[in-house]
């Protein structure tokens, strides 16, 4: 008996020691092979795909703090915190602003939507419509890419081709047929038909690339080691963690104040906030609504906000066999929603009601004479009764949790408001990924709450109601025709009239209840000045300064 016990004891002891030894061995093996692997995914612009040992650093410089930011001996560094890690640095790879925010510090466009949605010149100094299908651009002269290549009409025409061939931009740039070089600094943008949509196309996607370099490395490698004309150059990219930029000393527009800018991904919201409070980051891009007052109360920090362009609404699907197919029922629902209650409640006052149209004054096609729908539950009940539903009806209402600001809370308020007028909703709260899947699969029936962030032109708002569109929950031929007319009209007054007509149809036969835009909120150290938030959520670092 005692023999067996001691043998068992020996084995047990051995097993434990062995496991510990294995852990240690594994640690050594993996540590030993780390620098090689790290090289592959840490790149430095201009040097191809090799660089310094890139684990997030035993060198200690990963923790630049506010103290260092204001130290005269050290180059100024601003660390910008954000919620997720970008995928690549090729600006035409994605139309999502968060994905291309960093690329846009390196790569510039010809024309852009300014902070409030107006067209502004960037690498194109001026433009003129010279005939129905030709836009003439005069380019900035004397600009070079940071690898020494010149920026001119030839590189611009090449870059327009890159834009037109990028899958991500297909929806926004289809109005443009191509570009022709006229002389060194004159470029013609050609369109297949007369259109007003070539300008938004350029403002969204006309990123400028150094022709020889881009042609040599291709889009994928360019996405790892981009070169541009912009205010900053890529210094180092630790994939999944942070992107370090350093100032372009020869920037044509005027060299920015801040020498180094690092965009750091901190996925956990509370950790992101803590990093701002301790000064580890100087600017936080997506400040959670709930934390705004806490940041405001902190004397070292400031909250910067502006009404954003993300347009929230309640889509009333006409696809499924419910009372919602009847226009009168959808009209009634417009009066059943108390937008102000949503804004004052879950959104803590940091939102603005839409003026009964799915756009803000930042959008081309906006009608300033319209007013937000006034909440009138009695009228809603009356209209439902007139439509033949005096006792209401039952529908399914879907909304995501965790995709938009306070989405689940807003969804609950809407459900309660619908119940007030007798519409009994079965709520389905969806994980953001599932929500997107169902959106694409036309499964978000019967009602759903969502927010979209289209470029500031009415076309990009309304085309999502075209019958053919992948996730159109609405279909009317006359609306489709007007949308097409809108793309083929150059005159701005005529285009405005077309979008007014679409809205008139929507008044009778509404696809959505237009709700509100939320404020985009940023948290920053008070040492940071010169920060103007853009409606597009682009972070324009050029004017930033950090005070001592």
């Amino acid at each position: 008996m005692s023999d067996r016990l001691s043998s068992l004891a020996r084995i047990t002891r051995f097993r434990g020691v062995l496991l510990l030894a294995l852990i240690a061995a594994l640690a050594l093996v993996v540590s030993a092979c780390s620098p090689d692997g790290a090289d592959d995914s840490t790149t430095t612009a201009g040097e191809g795909a090799t660089t310094t040992a890139g684990d997030s650093g035993d060198d200690g410089d990963a923790t630049t703090t506010t103290a260092e930011m204001v130290d005269d001996d050290e180059p100024e560094t601003l660390i910008i915190g954000m919620g997720f890690a970008i995928r690549n640095l090729w600006a035409n790879s994605s139309t999502t602003q968060q994905e291309i925010n960093i690329s846009e510090q390196i790569t510039e466009k010809l024309i852009e939507f300014g902070p409030d949605g107006q067209f502004e010149p960037r690498l194109a100094a001026s433009w003129e419509q010279i005939d129905d299908t030709t836009l003439e651009l005069k380019l900035q002269e004397g600009v070079t890419f940071t690898n020494g290549e010149p920026f001119n009409a030839e590189s611009a025409a090449f870059s327009i081709d890159v834009m037109l061939n990028s899958f991500a931009y297909g929806t926004f740039t289809s109005a443009v047929a191509g570009a022709e070089v006229v002389d060194e600094y004159t470029l013609h943008i050609k369109t297949a038909t007369p259109t007003g949509l070539h300008m938004p196309a350029l403002a969204v996607g006309s990123f400028q690339y150094p022709m020889a370099y881009f042609a040599e490395v291709g889009e994928e490698e360019f996405g790892m080691a981009p070169i541009g004309t912009g205010p900053y150059m890529l210094e180092e990219w630790i994939v999944g963690e942070e992107v370090r930029l350093t100032v372009n000393p020869d920037y044509w527009w005027g060299t920015p104040d801040i020498e180094n800018v690092t965009f750091r991904a901190i996925p956990e919201e509370a950790s992101r906030l803590a990093a701002l409070e301790t000064g580890e980051i100087g600017l936080l891009l997506d400040l959670p609504l709930d934390s705004a007052s806490r940041i405001e109360d902190n004397p070292d920090l400031q909250v910067i906000g502006r009404p954003g362009n993300r347009l929230y609404g309640l889509t009333l699907s006409t696809l499924s066999d419910t009372p919602l197919v009847e226009p009168e029922v959808r009209q009634a629902i417009k009066y059943a929603i108390d937008i102000q209650e949503i804004i004052d409640g879950p959104l803590q006052g940091r939102a603005v009601a839409l003026q009964d149209q799915r756009m803000t004054s930042a959008y081309f096609g906006f009608d300033p004479t319209r007013e937000a729908i006034e909440y009138n539950p009695d009228l809603a009940r009356q209209m439902l009764a007139d439509a033949g539903y005096p006792d209401g009806f039952e529908v399914t209402f879907k909304y995501p949790s965790g995709r938009y600001t306070k989405d689940a809370e807003v969804g609950q308020v809407i459900a309660a408001q619908l119940a007030e007028v007798g519409i009994d909703v079965t709520q389905e709260v969806l994980e953001p990924g599932t929500f997107l899947d169902q959106l694409n699969a036309l499964e978000l029936n019967d009602l759903f709450f969502s927010g979209t962030l289209p470029p500031p032109d009415a076309h990009f708002v309304y085309f999502q109601n075209e019958c053919e569109w992948r996730y159109a929950y609405y279909c009317r031929e006359d609306v489709d025709q007007l949308i097409v007319d809108g793309t083929q009209t150059v005159d701005t007054d005529e285009r405005q009239a077309i979008y007014d007509q679409i809205r008139a149809i929507f008044d009778e036969d509404p696809p959505q209840v237009n709700l509100y835009v939320t404020e985009d909120l940023y948290g920053a150290t008070t040492a940071l000045s010169g920060f103007t938030p853009w409606g597009s959520q682009f972070t324009d670092v050029r004017n930033f300064t950090l005070d001592g």
Binding site: R15, T95, V239
Partner: protein, 305 residues
């Protein structure tokens, strides 16, 4: 002996195939990567091109066959999100996870063992009560919450330590403590129990009656005999530590494989999730295999079954 080893290796093959199928199918249940990787306004052509590029337009058996045949040639696939080989991502992040796991194991040993011994020796004293209270707390408080509390206290309020990231030894402290908390609690409980058990054994009474000094009894008799189950427990906690890093790494922005896996799951980066599950499974299987083989070396009875 060789036959036993071979048999054990062959036995792991169905396990690995099972894991690969589970990882492959489960990650696909989360939905369509194109819906997350492309903007909502993307055209149907863009979605088709995306699916074709990453082979997602093919049938599941074909996709699985391609995945497995690539794995057998040592190719774990390429991240959809970053367009970088998964193996490179793994090799880059594994040292961070090993560093965190090793640090928290060390802390757990340095704190948990002495505390457990004291509690065991002085059971029913006030010290025992205090230690047991903290052990209870350590096991009850979720790592996520503990991590955030540590950040609030030591980084935001006291400003002693950074909130997260990796690079300096200061950045290692809070995540290591967070991950160690559960282990410490576990160690305290087991050590205390083992010491108590040993203390009551007849040979300890004998040792006392021989007039040995209490220090000698503690060192040569109680500790030596209590260590056996404790060391086993520590060894078996490798899995707990590895899974604990997932939460800890997210809270402290620690660039290890745990955080990478969470990111990959949220963004439906199928190749990364599949490959990471396979790698972790292989590590576990290899460790277990070696332990079993070593067992049989010491105890031939195991070989017979």
């Amino acid at each position: 002996m060789t036959r036993f080893v071979l048999r054990r290796i062959v036995q792991t093959i169905p396990t690995l195939i099972g894991i690969s199928i589970a990882a492959f199918l489960l990650v696909r249940l989360t939905g369509d990567p194109a819906a997350l990787m492309l903007p909502p306004e993307a055209t149907q052509e863009a979605i088709d091109a995306f699916n074709e590029k990453f082979g997602l337009d093919q049938s599941l058996p074909v996709q699985y066959w391609k995945f497995m045949s690539a794995v057998l040639t040592g190719d774990l696939g390429t991240s959809i999100r970053f367009n970088i080989p998964v193996w490179d991502l793994f090799v880059e992040r594994m040292p961070a996870t090993v560093e965190l796991a090793a640090a928290s194991m060390s802390i757990a040993l340095l704190v948990g063992l002495p505390a457990g011994i004291i509690a065991g020796l002085k059971n029913r004293s006030w010290m025992d009560a205090v230690i047991r209270f903290f052990a209870f707390l350590g096991q009850a408080v979720p790592g996520f919450y503990l991590g955030l509390m540590l950040i609030v206290i030591f980084a935001v309020q006291l400003r002693w330590l950074p909130t997260g990231g990796r690079g300096t030894w200061q950045q290692l402290i809070l995540p290591a403590i967070t991950l160690a908390a559960y282990l410490i609690a576990l160690l305290v409980r087991f050590t205390r129990g083992a010491v108590l058990d040993t203390k009551r054994q007849l040979h300890i009474t004998t040792a006392r009656s021989k007039g040995l000094s209490s220090w000698l009894i503690l060192r040569s008799h109680i500790l030596k005999n209590s260590m056996i189950p404790i060391i086993t427990i520590i060894g078996l906690q490798v899995g707990a530590v590895l899974s604990g890093t997932v939460v800890t790494e997210v809270v402290f922005n620690w660039p290890g494989i745990g955080r990478m896996m969470v990111d990959a799951i949220y963004t439906r980066d199928f190749p990364v999730v599949q490959a990471m599950v396979m790698i972790v499974a292989v590590i576990f299987i290899v460790v277990n295999l070696i332990v079993d083989i070593a067992y049989s070396f010491f105890d031939p009875r195991i070989r017979r079954d």
